[in-house]
Symmetry: D2
Subunit: 138 residues, 4 copies
């Protein structure tokens, strides 16, 4: 069981009201939980800035009618086996596929793999969701 530590925080009344409004809009049920998430958000940002061990998601969109594209994407993924955990494939419509690749490794490796996939002819978009291994964010 995680040990909780309690301490006091002082806010101007007006700022506190705005915080309460903000977190209720975002569905939080108490201030501590919202505060914990603000901190974790900063910690994850830092993990990525400092190139630490991260986890994340590369999402690519492509037209599967493009010749040999699927093979090329598969080849790249196999060459980066140590950074790829698993892949989820979605048929968006008759033409467009979304492939979501769960990745793990250094921030630089994740970024490089996202760049490499994006550069393949026929890949229309690639985005990198910056998440965390969860280990260092309490």
């Amino acid at each position: 069981m995680t040990e909780l530590f309690r301490f006091g925080v002082s806010l101007p009344k007006d700022l506190l009201n705005k915080f309460d409004k903000l977190i209720s809009e975002k569905n939080y049920t108490n201030r501590s939980e919202a505060f914990r998430d603000l901190i974790r958000q900063e910690l994850v940002k830092k993990e990525w800035e400092e190139g630490e061990d991260v986890a994340g998601t590369i999402t690519i969109i492509y037209d599967h009618h493009q010749r040999e594209l699927a093979t090329k994407l598969m080849d790249i993924q196999h060459d980066h086996g140590k950074n790829i955990i698993s892949t989820q494939h979605i048929h968006l419509d008759h033409h467009n596929c979304m492939e979501i690749i769960a990745v793990r490794g250094s921030a630089k490796e994740a970024q490089k793999l996202a760049d490499m996939l994006k550069a393949v002819r026929g890949v229309k978009h690639s985005t990198l969701g910056m998440s965390s291994t969860g280990k260092h964010i309490g």
Copy 2:
């Protein structure tokens, strides 16, 4: 087959050299492909800014030892069935799970669902990868 249209572009020589260096670092094999991706990147940014129909990826990290957390996350996902395509679950370590949810709908719905999942007690991090349905980015 997509019809290609060819036109001329003028660049200062120095800028062109830098562009060529940049795209070779990013693994592009020709300028047109790199240029197409720069355009699509702007179009996807616009889809999200203007609240259009988008696709994306919500990645959440949580500790599955947290009581009733999995049930709560499942409930929320079922309540948003129309925006969720599929979910991929990864065991990062003994404590931490990564759940990757492929979403579709308006930009606002995707953002709201990401916020809602993040606010659940025990969810350590939630990030929204902004991608595209592929339909309107050529």
Copy 3:
């Protein structure tokens, strides 16, 4: 004098240690001040997302040797007098000027003005710093 309101926050011990480390790296002297800034950061993000009345900074880089560029930039700024507070001009080197324009108005107006300046031939870069009027962030 602003009235301060004090309340308790609970954090896992490990997360608290990381928070303390993070804020000391960022020069904060106490947790409350760091917490206030995290909240304000979210409020300013919201002001911009919801298109409210904002303040900000448009920074453009251009080569003043480009013919008639300065005149064109001046004209645009005069046409947007109601959104522009003042302008600071810096000579970066023999060629490059940095012009920093303090703006105020709706988020949309600020973005539109930044886009318009960026599109002028000879303007190499334009960036919009998203700040606040300070009124609604306690």
Copy 4:
């Protein structure tokens, strides 16, 4: 005079139409100029990622009624004289000041200075506009 270099680019017709629509909304008068700006945007992003020599703008919002705040901000700026080019001060309303500091140096120094100013008690918001010295973006 900068030497221009002309080359051909191929785009799917549909993507070209969308590009033309996008750049006309953003006030560009020709495709080459829009293309040059897309490239420069990527180059400036890279300058910041790789910690190169950059220029930028730190914008802070504070309440000047806060005791000794102005003195403290002045002290910090003097301690970082080598990174600060000039400062513009704007009275937003009876309480709120906006101070815009033109900075130059490594990306890390600029970020550090922005963090330091943000941590000062009474500074409500600090944002860093990432621009360029203009030297390496053609």
